[in-house]
């Protein structure tokens, strides 16, 4: 697997545009950010109702 993975990589590597798209990355990190916001405010709410 490891070795074959590298061979296929050499075969498959093609020229790509310089500014390759990172849209998937943006969506992924935004998902992380939203997850953090939601969980943080959930615990903050718990703190407030217990105060």
């Amino acid at each position: 697997m490891a070795q074959t993975g590298m061979k296929t990589q050499q075969n498959q590597v093609q020229k790509v545009k310089e500014d390759s798209s990172l849209k998937g990355t943006l969506i992924f990190v935004m998902f992380i950010g939203s997850f953090i916001l939601v969980s943080w405010f959930a615990i903050f709410y718990l703190f407030l109702i217990r105060a």
Partner: protein
């Protein structure tokens, strides 16, 4: 910056050689100690889970808190430290050339110092003379040999760190004006952090606990010792996570057939860790008297700053995945994900670790959030949290690493069968942790305490409810623990097979080609004196006034309490 990962132009001066067999042996011995400690540590964890769930009763000669101490010391300190130095010695040899005979000798000396310390501490735990947990809070008192053992352990790692730094700075001297190899840069940042942080624990152990345990002083300043411990305790978690990040930044891009997205950003992240992961210890002491709200809040802010390098890392790593996937012909918003080598344990295990780091990081932010800490402080939530961070993110990353590092240093090959076994291990670990850590988090929100043996608090309904939930129950924790133990035993088998039984052959040390921006690395990033200087200033800012206050306005100190732990 160019963002192509094409491996066509090759700036790299790193020759594709195996590491020197002598350095390989050094790394292998470290990794072996790590996995034997791991085996004992997880068996301790199993007993704890079952005992606390009320499913078994421990024999009278074995204490719950004794096993808890062993579990923490063996896994959080011994396993992590040894496997990290195994990785560092191998990686430095690969990227900076073989160690000189002198330095290698020094590394062996460090190994023996650390190991003698480990054996001393472990003996005291076995003798039930040190059931003070791995945080050893005063004024509970362990046998003085336990403190000497811990001191030797820390000093040994300093010597090992000095070896690695000497090797790194030698390279820099021979290659003036060039950006240093990323591996050495990141290892050096980690080790500087470790040494600066270790000063705190050395100060409390040598200056406070040892004289007190030996009877030279009658009293100990409890708050000061806790503060010095946590000055060390939080950077300790970065000492675990930074080597895992090194695998993500440097190894994974090569495993997936690409190239790291940006070297400068990787260096910047590690500089930020060095600067901001030390002056933050108060976020472990938010619920405690004797430290003002103001200084707690200051350190809360600094804690939040140290989140930034992890934000950078999340982007860099995923961008590396996306670029590589697209260069391999992946299209669409997410369908390039299919181009990643999901069947390769060297990628898959660390990847699961990365995924788990999302809830782990969110939980960490909550823990450090000043007054919000009251909701979860010292509850099982915290235990659930660090079983995600160090217990899954770091551990799964090191598992993935073990599948190439062990055969590399033993002159063997990763077989298809082993790869599959590794994937199974990863799934089992993830599933077990989902049950165990998930239940711990929820139980913690209901108030269930951490570090507490089986108890129903005289059948108080609230305490009984912690055994009765469908998911949120000590029984679920124990079930998860059983699955984790199975995964851990399988991993130990993987280790034994890769170390002594796999077929002989050559194994690649996967390390990313230099990122495209390497020639443009800002020189300031390599200015260690500057970064150490700023780190010291930040530490002095965050700690001088509160520590001065703790010493000058200290209440009468505490005598020894060594009868409570037996």
């Amino acid at each position: 910056m160019k963002q192509s990962n094409l491996a066509l132009q090759d700036y790299t001066e790193i020759p594709e050689v195996q590491i020197s067999p002598k350095d390989g042996k050094l790394a292998f011995v470290h990794i072996s100690v790590a996995f034997f400690a791991f085996l004992l540590g997880i068996l301790g964890g199993l007993l704890q889970g079952l005992a606390r769930g009320g499913m078994i009763q421990l024999p009278s000669w074995l204490g719950y808190y004794q096993i808890l101490t062993a579990h923490g010391v063996l896994l959080a300190l011994v396993f992590t430290t040894y496997i990290i130095f195994g990785f560092f010695f191998a990686g430095m040899s690969k990227t900076h050339g073989a160690f000189s005979d002198g330095l290698r000798k020094l590394a062996w000396i460090s190994f023996f110092i650390t190991t003698i310390g480990t054996v001393m501490a472990a003996t005291m735990i076995l003798a039930n003379e040190a059931s003070v947990l791995y945080t050893f809070y005063a004024p509970l008192q362990a046998h003085f040999i336990y403190y000497i053992g811990l001191t030797l352990f820390i000093v040994g790692t300093w010597v090992a760190g000095a070896t690695i730094m000497a090797h790194y700075f030698k390279w820099r001297k021979l290659n003036p004006g060039q950006p240093s190899p990323l591996f050495g840069f990141m290892a050096t940042a980690t080790i500087i952090l470790w040494i600066v942080a270790g000063l705190g624990v050395a100060a409390t152990v040598l200056g406070q606990m040892l004289p007190w345990a030996l009877g030279y002083t009658d009293e100990i300043n409890v708050l000061l010792s806790r503060t010095l411990f946590w000055y060390f305790g939080h950077p300790l978690v970065y000492f675990w996570i930074m080597p895992a990040y090194m695998v993500w930044y440097l190894v994974i891009p090569k495993v997936i057939g690409g190239r790291l997205f940006s070297g400068s950003l990787a260096r910047l992240a590690f500089v930020l860790f060095l600067l901001f992961s030390i002056p933050v210890g108060f976020h472990h002491q938010l619920m405690e008297a004797g430290i003002t709200e103001f200084w707690k809040y200051v350190q809360t802010i600094l804690t939040f700053v140290v989140v930034v390098p992890s934000l950078l890392t999340a982007f860099s790593i995923f961008a590396t995945f996306e670029q590589t996937g697209r260069e391999k012909g992946g299209k669409g918003l997410f369908s390039w994900l299919k181009k990643l080598p999901w069947g390769d344990v060297r990628f898959f295990a660390p990847f699961m670790g990365m995924l788990i780091f999302i809830p782990a990081g969110a939980g960490g932010l909550i823990n450090a959030s000043f007054q919000l800490n009251a909701v979860i402080h010292n509850t099982l939530w915290v235990v659930g949290h660090f079983h995600l961070t160090v217990g899954t993110t770091v551990v799964l990353t090191f598992f993935g690493m073990a599948f190439w590092l062990i055969p590399l240093v033993t002159g063997r090959k990763l077989t298809k069968f082993m790869n599959r076994s590794g994937i199974v291990t990863t799934w089992l670990w993830t599933i077990g942790m989902f049950f165990m850590s998930g239940a711990m988090h929820i139980l913690g929100l209901f108030g269930a305490p951490r570090r507490t043996a089986y108890t129903t608090y005289q059948d108080h309904p609230q305490a009984l409810s912690w055994f009765e939930g469908i998911f949120a129950s000590h029984v679920t924790v124990a079930l998860g623990g059983v699955i984790l133990t199975a995964a851990g035993l399988l991993m130990f088998y993987n280790f034994v097979y890769l170390a002594w039984f796999a077929p002989k052959g050559e194994t690649e040390f996967p390390i990313t080609p230099d990122p495209d921006d390497t020639p443009h690395t800002p020189a300031i990033l390599e200015n260690w004196k500057l970064w150490i200087g700023i780190a010291v200033v930040l530490i002095l800012f965050a700690y001088t006034i509160p520590i001065y206050d703790m010493i000058v306005n200290a209440p009468p100190g505490s005598p020894t309490f060594n009868n409570l732990i037996r």
